[in-house]
Each structure stands twice: as structure tokens, then as C-alpha cells.
């Protein structure tokens, strides 16, 4: 497949696209300085392949922990998590976590950062074009040779997205990836995320504390309770993309979600 043809797809056609996730009876606790700190309590959740869901909840409630468990970086204290029916035992490049901080490697150029996944799996030599395609996808081709400290916050987060997308993830776990950006950059990246998701059709789970962001991006919103987090409410809605924040349906939904969070006036 020619690189030029892949303008909006880093993937090869033979690679399986999106991943379905099932979270069954998952509870998790941390042992901190001898004390037992439960963070997740009997979470039941299933995400269909290609779905975009958002997880909302009070800060510190365990949203990020849920993503880490799904990524496989940590194992839950109880319960099972499976991807396409297979239990998740460890991290895998088909499920990629994007952090709130871009966590780019400061010693490597943008190109080498994006190439990390391919390099780590030893396929970089044959698939260099995918790095360029991923950079094209997020509009950073011109910055391939720049170092992370030379990038703005939005560019760094786009580079982090490219580093995830180059691996053709079937599942993208987004841990408040836009929280630290200024509001204008956040708006443009929200639109880019939707465009990326619609073209590449990965499954996406977005953790955020921004109700509006959840409404613009997701088709289902899960609201978690205070720690230890339980699923408090679920909102399913179908609105065509791209959405606008002033659509009456979204405004009504926003009020209901804020009420659930105990924040409505």
C-alpha cells in the first residue's frame, strides 16, 4: 500500500480494526502505606467495537485507574476485563493509553517518538512510511525533526496521538488528553479527535471532567460516583457529527448530567 494513498489511514487493510471491551465485576484497591484504599467497586461495562464512550466523574474517583486496568498496565484486584472476548493480561500495542501529559521522550525527535512502537516491536525498518503517515495525520510532518521541548502543548499532544495511532490501535484509551491545553487548542483538537475516530474507526474510551467535551465526542456517557467509583448513570444519545455545543438536545443532556454529578444550579 502506497504511503500517499494512506493519507487518512495509518492502517493496512488486513489489520483488524476496532476492539470490543467487556469489564465484568471489576473492583480495584491500592495499598498505600499500609492502608487499604478501594478505588473501583464492581464496575460492569461493555463497549461495542467502534464505539466512542466518555467516562465522567468527580476528580480522584478512579477514572484513570479504570483506563490503566483496561490498557493492561495494571491488573484489577477482582473481576475480569476482556478485549474481543480474550482476557487482558498485560499491555498490548492494540490498546493504547494516551495520557494527560504528552509524555513524549524529551531525548528523541518527534519522528523517533512516533516511531517508538514500531521500533520496540522490531518492524520499523519495513514500516517507516507509517511514521510519516501518522505525522501527516496529525499535521506534524514539518516538525518530524523537532525535539519535544520545541513544541507547543497542542503540538506535543498531537505528537502523542500520532505515537499511538501509528500502531493501528483497535482501542484508544484517552486519559483527559486535552485537559492541560488552552481552550482554543482544546476546541480544535476535539474536532481533530472526532475526525480521526471517524476515519480510523477505533474504539475510544475518553476519561474527562469536561461535560461539554464528552457531549461533543461520545455517543455514550458513563458517570461514576465518588471513590470507590461505581457506575452512577449512563446516557446514550445519537447525534450526527460534527456536533455543536449549542444544540438544544446537548444542552438539555448537559443539564441532566450536571444534575447527576450534583452540580446543577
Amino acid at each position: 500500500m502506497a504511503p500517499g494513498h494512506a493519507a487518512l489511514r495509518v492502517a493496512r487493510p488486513d489489520v483488524a480494526r476496532s476492539v470490543a471491551v467487556t469489564v465484568h465485576g471489576v473492583s480495584h484497591a491500592f495499598e498505600l502505606a499500609g492502608s487499604h484504599l478501594p478505588v473501583l467497586d464492581s464496575i460492569e461495562l461493555s463497549v461495542a467495537a467502534g464505539e466512542f464512550i466518555a467516562v465522567l466523574g468527580p476528580s480522584g474517583c478512579g477514572k484513570s485507574t479504570l483506563l490503566r486496568l483496561i490498557s493492561g498496565l495494571e491488573q484489577p484486584s477482582a473481576g475480569t476485563i476482556s478485549a474481543d472476548g480474550l482476557p487482558i493480561n498485560g499491555p498490548d500495542p492494540s490498546r493504547i493509553l494516551v495520557f494527560q501529559d504528552p509524555t513524549l521522550f524529551p531525548w528523541a525527535t518527534v519522528w523517533n517518538n512516533v516511531a517508538t512502537g514500531l521500533d520496540a516491536r522490531g518492524v520499523l525498518a519495513h514500516e517507516r512510511w507509517r511514521v510519516n503517515a501518522a505525522l501527516d495525520l496529525v499535521g506534524l510532518r514539518a516538525f518530524a525533526r523537532a525535539y519535544p521541548h520545541q513544541l507547543s502543548g497542542g503540538m506535543a499532544q498531537r505528537a502523542a496521538l500520532a505515537r499511538a495511532l501509528v500502531n493501528d490501535p483497535g482501542l484508544l484509551l484517552l486519559d483527559e488528553p486535552l485537559a492541560k491545553l488552552d481552550s482554543l487548542t482544546r476546541l480544535s483538537l476535539q474536532a481533530e479527535l472526532v475526525a480521526l475516530w471517524r476515519s480510523a474507526r477505533f474504539t475510544a474510551i475518553l476519561v474527562t471532567h469536561d461535560v461539554e467535551e464528552a457531549l461533543l465526542l461520545a455517543s455514550r456517557i458513563i458517570v461514576l460516583s465518588e471513590r470507590p467509583a461505581r457506575i452512577k448513570a449512563e446516557f446514550q444519545f445519537e447525534r450526527p457529527y460534527p456536533r455543536h455545543r449549542d444544540e438544544p438536545e446537548l444542552i438539555a443532556l448537559r443539564r441532566r448530567i450536571l444534575e447527576t454529578l450534583g452540580l446543577a444550579t
Binding site: 528523541a108 521500533d119 521541548h149 520545541q150 500502531n167
Partner: protein, 336 residues
């Protein structure tokens, strides 16, 4: 021709004060002062007799006088020399200070005898050492560099490897850290009795002592560097499919490099500090050996001259290390 340029021309040709001011502005005054100071050093050296003869006074005067002549040339031409000129101007105050210092040094030692032989030496006394002992000193430099480079290179390789292992592996850290903390503060010289027993030759023992002095700071700083790498980098690596080898080679190693360089600088200084001691062990040549030999015979001028060589070599190596650091840690700019 316009009126303005006519008056300007007239000003240049007819007003000598304006013309002189223009010339004076083109002169680098610090250069003139430096030339005066250097000329004074030359003059003092040839015109006053030594209290006790040191030799090479004529050569020293010739060198300082040449320096003064070059400085006069630079004072007139420095503004036409581009970047080299800028560097020279930057060091102007230092050039003055060196000239004044040399004059003062000559007067207090050789000329008035306030700082007497053999404890002190005038600058031309040091010069005389370089002139009369050239061959021996060159051999000593060669021997010292051989000992130092073998010791330093093997020390930092082992120290670096140990540091990575200590920083990465919990088991290594459990057993290794207490040992390292225990032997770290022990001066390298305290190992001399053991080294005599364990090493087949005294040269190997000397190499070991230099290696120990340079390796320990590298090991300590590398391990703390590896241990303090942002955990999220490893999460990213593992998530992207990296195995342990990749995490160490491509994440832990580059991420800890700033710490490693601090260790290398410390190791470099320590290794020079123990060179003199290491060359006590049955060496036949070497700058450290030469210093001890001359100390025993009260050849303090030779000692000072040799110390200057060691300082210059050490400074040169530090400079090289800085160049290497700037090339490898260019990505850090903006962080610092």
C-alpha cells in the same frame, strides 16, 4: 557634492582634534593596558638581576615582550578581526591581569627575594623547568595519560554498568547499594594494601585505584539517574510493546544521561586527584611520580611546573567532556 558632505570632508581634513578622536575610538584601550603590563613584565625580568639565578630569564623576557608586541598590534587591529577579535576583547581584562600578575610575581620572587628559593619560583623558573626537562616531562605526560586513560575508561565502563543494574533491578539495588554506600566514601588510597596483594603488577594496581576513583561517582549517579526516570516513560514503552531490554536501552539509558554526565565530571576530578597517589606504586615515570621525586629533592619549581601541566590536561579533558555533553544532551536545551 552636497553641502553636508562638504562640511564633513572639511571637518576631517581641517580639524585634527576630531580626527584624533576618531582614531582613538578605533583603538582597543584594554589591549594597550595589557601590552603595557606585559612589557613591564619583560622589562623587570631583564633589567633587574635575580637574587639567586634561575635561568631562562632572557627567554621569558622575550616571550612576554613578544606578547606585548602582539597586544599592541591587536589594540590597533582588533576591530577588523571579526569573531576572533570579539573573543580577544572579551578576555581583555584577563590579559591585563596576567601581565600585572607576571610582573608582580617576578618582583616578589626572583628580583626582591621576598618569596625565597626553593619554596617559590618566579615564572621564568617554571619556564626553565620546561626548557631543561622537556624530554623527561614529555615521557611523564605519556605515562600518566596511559595510566589515566586505562583507569578512567575501565572505571567508567564498570561504574556505568553497575549503575544501570543498581538503578534498574531491585535485587541488585538490595545487595549492591549498601556495599556502594560503604565503599563510596573510602578514599581510593586506602585500598593500596589490598591492591598490592590482588594485582600481579604495580601498574595494574595503579590502574585499579584510578578506576575506582572515577567509577564510584559514575555508578552512584547513574543508579540514581536510572531510578529517578519518570515512571510514565516506562508505561508508554510497555504499552507500545517494548520488552525490558528496550526499556533499558532506549528509555532508562537516555533518560538518565544528564545524571551520568554529572558522575563523569566528578569521576574525572577524582581520578586526577588520585593520580599522584596511584603513581606512588612503584612507577618509574609519570607526572605524579615526578612530583613526588622532585618534592623529595626540594625541586619545588619542578613541582609547580608539573602541577601546571596536570591542571592544563585536566582542564582540557573537562572541556572535551563538555563538548561531548552538549552534543549528546542537546535535547535538554530549554529544560535547563
Amino acid at each position: 557634492m552636497s553641502e553636508a558632505s562638504q562640511t564633513l570632508d572639511a571637518g576631517i581634513t581641517t580639524n585634527p582634534r576630531v580626527w584624533l578622536r576618531g582614531v582613538w575610538r578605533g583603538i582597543w584601550t584594554n589591549g594597550l593596558f595589557a601590552a603595557v603590563a606585559w612589557a613591564a613584565a619583560a622589562l623587570v625580568t631583564v633589567s633587574l638581576p635575580d637574587v639567586v639565578p634561575w635561568g631562562s630569564a632572557g627567554l621569558f623576557a622575550a616571550i612576554t615582550a613578544t606578547g606585548a608586541a602582539v597586544l599592541i598590534f591587536l589594540a590597533l587591529a582588533v576591530h577588523h578581526l571579526g569573531r576572533f577579535g570579539e573573543t580577544v576583547v572579551h578576555y581583555g581584562p584577563w590579559l591585563i591581569a596576567v601581565g600585572v600578575w607576571l610582573t608582580f610575581w617576578e618582583l616578589t620572587t626572583a628580583k626582591f627575594g621576598w618569596l625565597p628559593k626553593p619554596f617559590f619560583s618566579p615564572p621564568h623558573g617554571l619556564l626553565h623547568v620546561y626548557v631543561s626537562e622537556t624530554q623527561r616531562l614529555l615521557i611523564c605526560i605519556g605515562y600518566t595519560l596511559r595510566l589515566w586513560s586505562l583507569g578512567f575508561v575501565s572505571g567508567i565502563i564498570v561504574g556505568y554498568g553497575a549503575g544501570v543494574a543498581l538503578g534498574w533491578s531491585k535485587t541488585f539495588s538490595y545487595w549492591g547499594m549498601p556495599v556502594l554506600k560503604l565503599i563510596g566514601p573510602v578514599p581510593a588510597t586506602a585500598w593500596i594494601p589490598c591492591t598490592f596483594f590482588f594485582f600481579p603488577t604495580t601498574f595494574a594496581a595503579s590502574v585499579f585505584i584510578v578506576a575506582l576513583a572515577s567509577g564510584i561517582p559514575v555508578a552512584i549517579l547513574t543508579s540514581s539517574g536510572v531510578a529517578s526516570v519518570n515512571r510514565s516513560y516506562y508505561d508508554v514503552g510497555r504499552n507500545l510493546g517494548a520488552d525490558n531490554r528496550y526499556l533499558i536501552a532506549k528509555i532508562a539509558v537516555p533518560a538518565s544521561l544528564p545524571h551520568v554526565f554529572v558522575g563523569l565530571f566528578m569521576g574525572l576530578y577524582y581520578s586526577f586527584a588520585v593520580l599522584v597517589v596511584a603513581e606512588m606504586l612503584g612507577a618509574k615515570y609519570g607526572l605524579g611520580w615526578y612530583i613526588q621525586f622532585q618534592t623529595a629533592y626540594s625541586g619545588y619549581a619542578n613541582v609547580y611546573a608539573t602541577l601546571l601541566i596536570m591542571a592544563a590536561i585536566c582542564a582540557g579533558l573537562v572541556k572535551l567532556l563538555f563538548i561531548a555533553r552538549d552534543r549528546l544532551l542537546g535535547w535538554q536545551k530549554g529544560f535547563i
